[in-house]
């Protein structure tokens, strides 16, 4: 059974397997450095739909369809679908799942929805409450721009610290299988707020939450950063990645030589369009479901920490001049052993 360790961490005694995963992305991601790791790339930002919101739902549907196909499963085999996106009332998720007839709930934790969904799913699978869970997270550049910033055709210049929302969705199957990467522990993070108000610098807003949850996990578990091949954050981007390393250094924890960030990996950072890197639920979900899952399955990554980060702002809180509270959730993951 799941066991509480220290103040925040839950460790799993039984196997919780990341059975398989799939990811679908948009054009810019499909032309980026990780191009070969995605299952499907859609070059039309509407994906044949009338609205961007409907397009985001298609990204999720396609990711679900792909991962089910890989394991020869039907929606009937799935006990629960835990999904997350950035839109008001999670409409991308609800409109995506409504035709599948799978029991469902949505989670909101901004861009950290991928790790939150997987964390909750892992707890459910480990204690036998469900046999097969599917966890999905998505974001779409155009829906996020519409909700949080300016209309797409409005002519404005991005600041150099702003991040670009990833168009993408990742879907993961969780079960109690043996021969697959395993989730060993989960640490649900605390909301951190260092009074950053600039919505064009979300990396800076989120870095303290990531640093806090990484520190909490290491304290709770008594483990050291050098036990891991990779400490992967969700979407801190250029600025946030530098900050999380500095923040942890001040706490005497050095992750500099094993840290990477999904937001740094998904786009070509030389391109001015990608600014300070990728962001959004779809950023960590599609990078993890594609690139990272391959390395976990092949055993190239033996042990890693996956820490997805989320900026919990809303257009209302922004207009009211409030700061950006942030959160991060962490998973300890083990790759497939080849011996």
């Amino acid at each position: 059974m799941a066991k509480r360790l220290g103040k925040q961490t839950i460790v799993f005694e039984k196997d919780v397997a990341l059975l398989n995963s799939a990811c679908c992305v948009g054009k810019d991601e499909g032309n980026g450095p990780l191009a070969k790791t995605f299952d499907k790339v859609f070059y039309d930002e509407y994906i044949g739909q009338k609205t961007y919101e409907a397009a985001e739902s298609v990204l999720q549907k396609e990711a679900i369809g792909e991962v089910l196909k890989k394991e020869n499963l039907t929606p009937n085999d799935i006990d629960i679908a835990i999904m997350g996106d950035l839109l008001d009332q999670s409409i991308a998720s609800t409109f995506a799942i409504k035709d599948f007839s799978i029991p469902h709930f949505s989670v909101f934790s901004a861009c950290s929805a991928s790790a939150l969904g997987l964390g909750i799913g892992a707890v459910l699978v480990e204690n036998g409450a469900v046999n097969l869970a599917i966890c999905v997270a998505s974001s779409h550049f155009c829906t996020a721009e519409r909700q949080f910033r300016f209309p797409l055709n409005y002519g404005s210049k991005r600041t150099p610290n702003s991040q670009r929302t990833v168009t993408g969705a990742g879907a993961f199957l969780l079960s109690s299988q043996k021969n697959a990467p395993k989730i060993r522990a989960v640490t649900f993070g605390k909301v951190k707020d260092y009074d950053i108000t600039d919505a064009n610098n979300m990396g800076a807003a989120m870095a303290p939450a990531a640093a806090d949850v990484i520190k909490a996990f290491l304290q709770d578990s008594g483990k050291k950063p050098d036990e891991y091949d990779l400490i992967l954050t969700g979407d801190l981007g250029v600025i946030g990645s530098k900050l999380v390393i500095k923040l942890l250094q001040k706490e005497g924890i050095d992750i500099s030589n094993r840290h990477d960030d999904c937001g740094l990996m998904i786009f070509d950072l030389e391109d001015e369009k990608s600014a300070a890197g990728g962001s959004g639920c779809g950023c960590s979900a599609s990078v993890f479901a594609g690139h990272i899952m391959r390395k976990l399955k092949s055993g190239e990554i033996k042990k890693m920490l996956f820490c997805a980060t989320g900026a919990l702002l809303s257009p209302t809180s922004q207009n009211q001049g409030l700061s950006i509270p942030s959160i991060a959730h962490l998973l300890e993951i083990e790759g497939v052993k080849n011996d």
Partner: protein, 145 residues
């Protein structure tokens, strides 16, 4: 770490905008738009013998070009390059009305386009009118003295 200490750390880590380059580009592109406006104005004046109508026609032409380029998704690309250079002239205002009109069309003509078309330019109109009102009163009082 206190909020202030963190703010200092963020400030040190942040990338800075290249202000000089941004200003030069804004000056050049904004200036070019103004040159185009002047050329249109002079051209219209040659065709019709009415200065006021020529000025109005020049503005209308610039607005029409801006809206067309917004619809073709070319205007935001120029704006990414030019920054304030495309924002300040009348073309920026036209873009600020056309962009939400296109964006909110799926939400209907009333609650979509109607309610959102002035989403960005609305504050400019409100405070433009308000400052006109204040200036009018001041002008009236000064004339009385």
């Amino acid at each position: 770490m206190t909020n202030k200490e963190y703010a200092r750390l963020v400030e040190k880590t942040n990338k800075k905008s290249n202000v000089l380059k941004d200003c030069v580009l804004a000056f050049l592109v904004g200036g070019l738009i103004c040159v185009l406006g002047q050329a249109l104005n002079d051209g219209y004046k040659m065709c019709i013998d009415n200065e006021l109508s020529a000025k109005t026609l020049a503005s209308i032409t610039l607005i029409a070009i801006s809206i067309l380029l917004t619809g073709l998704n070319i205007y935001p690309k120029i704006a990414k390059f030019a920054g304030a250079g495309t924002l300040v002239p009348i073309t920026g205002f036209a873009n600020a009305c056309a962009a939400p009109a296109i964006e909110f069309k799926p939400e209907g003509y009333v609650l979509g386009i109607g309610a959102n078309i002035f989403k960005i330019s609305g504050p400019v109109i409100v405070y433009g009118l308000f400052s006109g009102f204040v200036y009018g009163i001041l002008f009236y009082i000064m004339n009385l003295l």
